[in-house]
Symmetry: C2
Subunit: 347 residues, 2 copies
DNA sequence: TGCACTTGCTTAAACGATTAAGCTTGGCGC
DNA sequence: GCGCCAAGCTTAATCGTTTAAGCAAGTGCA
């Protein structure tokens, strides 16, 4: 009734060579005691037959599925492609598959998604939470990728340092009044980035912070940010906490006839797909997602192979912060002399 | 040695209730002959113990893993979040998990990724190819999501009709000279979209097509598209074949001091994340990814449950084209009267 | 009463891999 | 020559589920 797996299995190889399945298994895994000659013979025959081990059989016996789960509460996040790519790459290098779970931004659906992954028998999970979400209901090792200030965080980009890079860059260019543009003031990532920027300001520099979500609560979604007014008030640099907000700022400024980087500078975060494509191309800060993913995955696989010490589900890694890299493009330039003078007068 | 699955299994429930495992299995699946009273009792006890069936055991017995693979040769594609979300949603509604595979744009790595999925024992795969790629090496049902003109395509958005929607919209606004902006002229999707636009032009309208990849081969990556020159030559509308190109066009025009939609109109495709956020927000065409995913997944699951008729691996669906929806925002407006007059003179 | 048939359960055999334990054989030391 | 040990293989149990087959008891009918 059920279509049998067509490929050859251990027992077919065994009978075909006149040996036992155990010997074949040992030869292929290199574990037991099998003579070199026989190992060679078995491996050759297995390759010839195109043998692929059944994950189901292996999983049933070993209790390991060889699959990791990837949970992103906000899968519509434009960062998702990079994260998924990096995790998948790191996982498959470690011999694991990646099962995705989505909760469409819904917090309650997140635990449901996690449960689905557990039911599917994942050996571990990588979770990228949006807000501070408690990850507790999972009965397998969990690696959290958020930001260093999040309790229980496993590994993440050094968002704080990224912010300092931005601040140093803008300071070098002579900017004095900086508007930080964020989306949500409850986001740990955005707070760390903003904090990094503020901590990197030189004496004589000042910043204000604009949270778009707050603004939209009053003025409606998709409203103008009122950046032209900010320019009139002497802001010469707009440091967005994500490239999406940087794009929003850039196009609004352009629409108002304000030149970037001639009149003001705009910077972003994350080096998203469009950063290099827009005019002017966006100065931004890139996170080393490949390294982060590698650390997260190896922390998981380490824990999985130990499997004796069950000291809580959250795993930890040696390196908790991975440096971010400043990418200087066209959207940032020297502060406009006119603004600079008015700034000089202010002192 | 191996950490046993902690949860209860069939036999634990069975011994605990003093019945056989087969009865428990039958009661939970509702398949065999079990009295209603016992079914009730078994289900209650299973729920109480928090029983979750072992996918490994089930997979081994049935030969089905309950997992679908998702292959995207170009996972960095900004469409990926929507696709992954839609597929995951449709799959989990059908009781399947989704395993992702990436090939980082590499064609040879694609077959490797497909093989990894097959080795993991997926019951079927959804493949979204970038160019015309032959999907043959898979030993399981495959659904292809590309475009109607691709041979072997299972289901896709009606890109041609989407192009006609754009053309009709621009015609209504009085535009007569339209520049179609695409990335790659070998992409089936982009060709269908461009063809749709051209076929929807009214008498008296004309179009040219600009392929960015060709331009960049000569002028270098990230070069200007020279749209200001096109405006001078009388183009009043720029119809990009993807929102990414639309964004590139929009920002370049703004940088040149050309007003959108005051002087010229810009439209895109796909309704990507930034379309509603930029100023002016992008008029675009959205594909109904949820419906497409649902059709693709149910085509797969149908084939999987038949499992007798092995008439090739590529599955087909009744509905092959899913309509696209025009989203009118701020980036498209009436053709500039000045341009219109010069156009009138041309007649 | 005897036969067929249904109901409700159990027994047991798979699926494919891993692995502990057992069994020969041969070599080596004393 | 005897015992011991290692090498090289086999035997057999096991993971958890599904499902065909079997079996006892009850029901309906002639």
């Amino acid at each position: 009734m059920v279509s049998q797996r067509p490929g050859p299995n251990l027992s077919r190889i065994a009978t075909s060579l006149g040996v036992s399945v155990a010997t074949v298994s040992n030869a292929l895994s290199g574990k037991g005691r099998v003579s070199d000659a026989l190992i060679e013979k078995i491996r050759a025959h297995a390759a010839e037959l195109g043998y692929v081990p059944s994950q189901a059989g292996r999983a049933l016996r070993t209790g390991r599925s060889g699959v990791l789960g990837l949970v992103l509460p906000d899968i519509a996040n434009p960062l998702f492609p990079k994260i998924a790519q990096a995790i998948e790459s790191a996982a498959s290098a470690a011999g694991y598959g990646v099962l995705i779970a989505d909760s469409r931004g819904d917090i309650t659906a997140q635990t449901e998604a996690i449960n689905r992954l557990v039911e599917r028998g994942v050996d571990g999970m990588v979770v990228v939470p949006r807000r501070a979400t408690r990850i507790s209901a999972a009965s397998c090792p969990v690696a959290v990728i958020d930001t260093a200030s999040t309790p229980g965080n496993t590994v993440a980009a050094d968002h704080w340092q990224g912010g300092r890079e931005i601040a140093a860059h803008l300071a070098d260019l002579g900017h004095r009044r900086i508007l930080i543009i964020g989306n949500n003031h409850e986001s740990n990532v955005q707070n760390d980035r903003a904090g990094g920027i503020r901590s990197g300001l030189q004496p004589g520099m000042q910043s204000e912070t604009l949270w778009i979500e707050r603004l939209e609560n009053e003025a409606g979604a998709g409203c103008r940010l009122g950046l032209a007014e900010k320019v009139r008030r002497g802001f010469t640099a707009f440091a967005a906490l994500s490239d999406l907000q940087a794009l929003r700022a850039l196009t609004e400024l352009q629409q108002e006839g304000i030149s970037v980087p001639g009149d003001v500078s705009v910077t972003g975060f994350d080096d998203l797909i469009w950063s290099s494509v827009v005019t002017p191309s966006l100065t931004t800060v890139r996170m080393d997602m490949d390294t982060i993913a590698e650390i997260a995955v190896s922390a998981l696989t380490d824990r999985i192979s130990e499997s004796g010490t069950r000291e809580g589900v959250l795993v930890t890694a040696e390196t908790e912060r991975v440096p971010m890299q400043l990418i200087i493009r066209q959207s940032s330039g020297p502060a406009n002399p006119a603004q600079k003078t008015s700034e000089m007068e202010n002192r």
